[in-house]
Amino acid sequence: MKREMVLNVNGEEHDVEIEPNRLLLEALREDVGLTGTKEGCSIGVCGACSVIVDGRLVSACLTLAAACEGKKIETIEGLARDGELHPLQRAFVQFGGFQCGICTPGQIMAAKALLDHNPNPTTDQVKEWMSANLCRCTGYYKILESVMAVVEGKVDEGRRDEAVRQARIQSLYQSDTYKSNASD
């Protein structure tokens, strides 16, 4: 049976009338009308639907909308202010952090959640944090470069000298120390 409730998305209250089995992902896209949040795997693995609820990064495909009543939901649409893109968005544009774009809202929300907690992560911390945000265009190094540009305050410096960029990408490769098999 449908129920009326209020969802607070990006600081705005939205009245919605939804079934209890409505997922946050569906409610955002189809009831609130914010289609920036994308559906990928639908089983909490790919990260495309990542949004922030009460400060925590979650998969909207595994979250009930009804469970988000009274909570603060942040989506990609809430990042730009007064027509100006958020630094992470500008970085993704300037450093080529996306190709087809479907994973991008999730990537940026994941990065935002990390930087909200820890404004100075290492590249390894960024990799580990974002390891469940898949990109099928294989753009990971540019995604990493984009996030690190924000961390290092280098957004808006424009595209750097190609040799500098190549050296930087090499250094990102070399810090590749995934810890998934070394749990302890």
Partner: protein
């Protein structure tokens, strides 16, 4: 997902009253919603437990720690009551799924889902923890190593809710460790292993007590009695640890599946058991 009624009780009593045979408790939902999508559960009512504050607490109790069943994996991994003392548990909570999953998934959900590969099950078995189960008539404790009956099946009775996990005080000269191997960063464990070691008061090279638990190599997470017996009373050296690894491998009952073959899993049990014992041993000596 098929339609269901949604209830979000504010107290445990209210929740227990709602848990009829047609109802299913919702913790993080990272397993439940997938089961509902696949029609593996027929519940017509979902009882969301996340709005019951007392179920989410992590607090010191009886010299040990009491972890509410709804405590998030991320909170568990970050808890200063657990880190440093119960290292195996901290390490397991930090590697479950992704940050998106750890921000939804709960300790109680990980146990009640009863996956043979549940990453927090083996550390709790090694640490000698008990699950607290409540129903309308009262509460009881079930040792975590008796909680699992088979894949997806627990010793919880109809209408009973897993409310907390009680981890006993860590004895002096004791330490624990967790090891696992996975196929990709986000996959469930091919094998996991937790070890607990308590050293003799007079001889810091001799093991007074050991508990070793293995995951994803049987229908439930399991203790390996032969490896534990091999360690108990022994002075720890390469030969003893090697033998304990062999014992664990022979106690394992792995299957071939899409993630790995049984032979590979058995070999990994041997390797991870050895590593976990050495790590737990060094922690017990205060060296790591």
């Amino acid at each position: 997902m098929r339609p269901f009624h949604y209830r979000a009780p504010r107290s445990l009593d209210e929740a227990l009253a709602l848990l009829t045979p047609q109802a299913v408790p919702l913790a993080g939902g990272t397993d439940l919603f997938l089961k509902m999508e696949r029609r593996q559960t027929q519940a017509d009512t979902v009882v969301d437990l996340k709005r019951i504050p007392e179920l989410g607490r992590i607090e010191a109790a009886d010299g040990g720690v009491r972890i509410g069943a709804l405590a998030l994996m991320d909170s568990l991994g970050a808890s200063s009551l657990i880190a440093g003392q119960y290292e195996a548990l901290t390490r397991s909570a930090r590697v479950v799924g992704s940050i998106q999953t750890r921000n939804r998934a709960t300790l109680g959900g990980n146990l009640a889902n009863a996956s043979p590969a549940a990453d927090t099950a083996t550390p709790l078995m090694a640490l000698g923890a008990s699950a607290e189960a409540a129903d309308a008539t009262g509460t009881r404790q079930v040792p975590v190593d008796q909680l699992f009956l088979g894949p997806g099946r627990t010793a919880l009775r109809d209408g009973e809710l897993l409310t907390a996990v009680l981890v006993p005080a860590l004895p002096a000269r004791a330490g624990s460790a967790f090891q696992r191997c996975v196929r990709t960063a986000m996959d469930i464990a091919l094998v996991n292993c937790a070890a607990f070691v308590r050293l003799d008061g007079d001889d810091p090279d001799t093991v007074a007590e050991a508990r070793i638990a293995l995951g994803a190599v049987g229908p439930t997470p399991l203790r390996t009695a032969s490896a534990e017996n091999c360690l108990t009373g022994a002075r720890l050296d390469e030969r003893v640890v090697e033998e304990a690894g062999e014992c664990a491998a022979s106690d394992a009952q792995p299957i071939d599946d899409v993630r790995a073959g049984a032979d590979y899993r058995r070999e990994m049990v041997r390797v991870l058991t050895r590593r976990a014992i050495w790590k737990a041993f060094r922690r017990a000596r205060g060296e790591a």
